[in-house]
């Protein structure tokens, strides 16, 4: 199970940006690198980090913010935040 910091780092690495950017920006349209290809890159990276358990979760298609991604991961027992 991933921590919030680990998930943020995975997303930052996928978008090739500094993870600090993700603390000030939340939505995809606030981050230049988060276009449709960037979105797919994030999901592929999360899938790899979560042992292939992300690809079958269709809710990720509409997850256009960090908050939504984190929520879906928690709901599917793939991440846990204190």
């Amino acid at each position: 199970m991933k921590t919030k910091d680990e998930v943020l780092q995975i997303i930052a690495d996928a978008l090739d940006i500094n993870s600090e950017m993700l603390t000030s920006a939340d939505k995809a349209d606030e981050i230049e690198e988060w276009d449709s290809v960037g979105h797919l890159t994030i999901l592929v990276a999360l899938d790899k980090a979560c042992g292939g358990k992300v690809s079958s979760i269709s809710a990720f298609a509409e997850a256009d913010s960090i908050t939504k991604i984190l929520d879906i991961l928690v709901k599917n027992n793939l991440a846990k935040f204190d």
Binding site: S36, V37, H39, L40, L43, D47, V54, F60, E62
Partner: protein, 238 residues
């Protein structure tokens, strides 16, 4: 005519002219260029044919990144060949550009390398996409007509051990193309494989995409609840 900058990779880019009716480079163009570079970066190439050259982006990029004596290029569109000539000149590339369909301009010519970037998606998809505005696409409902013609006629235009690169895009009947490559060349190598999301303008035609998928005219996959297309870059050897 407009100027645009094409980024080959993180370290290099080229300046090109573009005009209406000339095919704009897409992600497939990048996959194709990078696939060829990956396989041929340490080779000396005497002649490379850029088939379906459009603005000349593939030939010029490869001339910049590889050791190539001369680029040969052709396109079905007369306007594309005119624009390509200007682009080859401004990028100081040794070239021979001709107008004509497929191998028609290269009757008795043989090449070390052929790079095919001719339309390889379903013509039904092309007609509703923004990629082919003002650009002809006669690849048939399943997108295979032109690629298969290229495969059928490539051996006689390749030098011994010459290689042909071409993209196989999920917006076509990929199995049919791969089976044809196998039949003609005995085997093929997948140089790269990339997944990319179907653009929003095409997703508006969801029913049409599903119909084509059901009829096996296209071959999309679904992951994360997103419709994805796989583009493979394939290499065959004469």
């Amino acid at each position: 005519m407009k100027n645009f900058i094409f980024k080959i990779d993180d370290n290099s880019e080229i300046s090109l002219l573009h005009d209406e009716g000339v095919f704009q480079p897409t992600a497939t163009t990048n996959y194709l260029i990078n696939g060829v570079i990956k396989k041929l970066h340490n080779k000396n190439i005497s002649s490379l044919l850029d088939l379906g050259c459009g603005s000349g982006v593939v030939g010029i990029s490869l001339f910049k990144k590889l050791t190539i004596n001369k680029i040969f290029a052709s396109d079905y569109s007369k306007r594309s060949t005119e624009v390509a000539k200007e682009n080859f000149l401004r990028n100081k590339t040794s070239y021979d550009v001709r107008h004509g369909s497929l191998y028609e301009p290269w009757d008795s010519y043989k090449f070390d390398v052929i790079v095919d970037d001719i339309s390889g998606i379903s013509s039904v998809i092309a007609s509703i996409s923004s990629w082919f505005e003002g650009v002809p696409c006669e690849s048939g409902d399943d997108g295979t007509d032109l690629t298969i013609k290229v495969l059928e006629n490539s051996k006689k235009h390749l030098n011994p051990n010459g290689v042909l690169f071409f993209p196989v895009i999920g917006l076509s009947d990929t199995s049919k193309i791969e089976m044809t490559a196998n039949k003609i060349f005995g085997s093929y190598e997948v140089v790269s494989e990339n997944e990319w999301p179907i653009p929003k303008d095409l997703l508006q035609h969801d029913k049409l995409l599903n119909d084509l998928q059901d009829k096996k005219k296209i071959n999309l996959i679904e992951k994360f609840g997103i419709k994805l297309c796989i583009t493979k870059i394939i290499m065959v050897t004469a």
